[in-house]
Symmetry: C4
Subunit: 124 residues, 4 copies
């Protein structure tokens, strides 16, 4: 059985940046983890979809060989200058030139606690 190392397309329907109002040790945010077990770099394009406007497509990202990277979705400088407003529904499609793994996570500190949500995404 060949080792596949994931898939070339991943989907994350539920993006929703929390507000940064609490002052805990962790800052509220969402992040996308991209994991490349192959021997060469993965050239990735991120497509961002919204409820009420056209998608922003093909934001480029590179994942080095045999590395995992974390992309902060509340930092425009990490996603090609795109500013995603908080408390707005968005979705992500990840397209890679080689098989990778992708996971999405949210850390919410809206109230006096910490809440996680994390999932693997649907892949094809």
């Amino acid at each position: 059985m060949p080792r596949k190392g994931g898939a070339r397309t991943w989907y994350f329907p539920d993006g929703y940046l929390p507000e940064k109002i609490a002052k805990g040790r962790m800052e509220a945010h969402e992040a996308l983890m991209l994991f490349n077990v192959s021997k060469g770099p993965a050239r990735v394009k991120l497509d961002f979809y919204f409820s009420d406007k056209p998608p922003v497509k093909a934001v480029p990202v590179e994942v080095p060989a045999e590395r995992v990277i974390s992309i902060r979705l509340d930092r425009p400088e990490e996603i090609g200058g795109l500013e995603i407003p908080p408390l707005t529904q968005y979705a992500i499609r990840v397209r890679s030139n080689v098989n990778i793994l992708a996971q999405f996570g949210r850390v919410d500190t809206t109230q006096t606690n910490l809440a996680y949500y994390c999932c693997m995404g649907h892949c094809e």
Copy 2:
């Protein structure tokens, strides 16, 4: 490899609306996110199943082309007038005429904090 853009049927076994008793910044609720990357609208039917009564089937929803929408399950006006009582087990089957992505989320503020549960669902 053709880009599939998800699947036509999705299942979510664990629906259970929390009570709206806390007064945090976020209201307790459950939501269904439907994500359509195709170039045309997705015509979706939602089937709701319960533990002790027959299902309510074929509640219609439409997802525009290249958009993601969030359907609140505690708002009858968003699900064809269906009222789902809180603290009652229910399940959802999503049927679409084209491939879509679906994800389910719960925000619980029953106690003095916020708790998330979110998952991608099983698809076919």
Copy 3:
């Protein structure tokens, strides 16, 4: 495309009953949701695995046609009299005579809050 309605075997590696020490509005527990969209009842066998003793196999459960049920794993009367001690690692295999959907959830109130963990399981 035929509608499959899930799968006949589901696996949940991470069972770990929380202690019932907090006095919140929700009792700490784990539950298994079984969802049957078929027109006939599903006859299900639950197999429980542990770290340091042999498995307990073939605890029978029935899911009526077109219903979802929730089985409490902290209540021996719902799982054939089996007592699962709290704070002990266990895993579940679900075997059904027809395709079903299965999901596992934990509600933890160990500390002054509520924490959820929920996932769909691996199916075959």
Copy 4:
């Protein structure tokens, strides 16, 4: 349909050990649950990947027949002496000589509460 009992390769992109700063009843940690329903032991190799250094590969683990084990990722003695620093992104690939199930979980007690994140992983 043959019973597969999982898969031989599993991937977990989002490892990130929380700090051990709170004094709740549960210690902050991450764990990997490996579940073997087969009649013989599973010989497993764990590969750890990072963002800024080469992977550490082939840490050996054994899962007895018909057992589930939990491996603590904050305890070097359980992962071949490897010390994973807290607040550092890492990812895991699990390779087994027979089909197994794998799940990853985090218990975070950074703030005054408990937060869970748990998922099944991607398998091949």
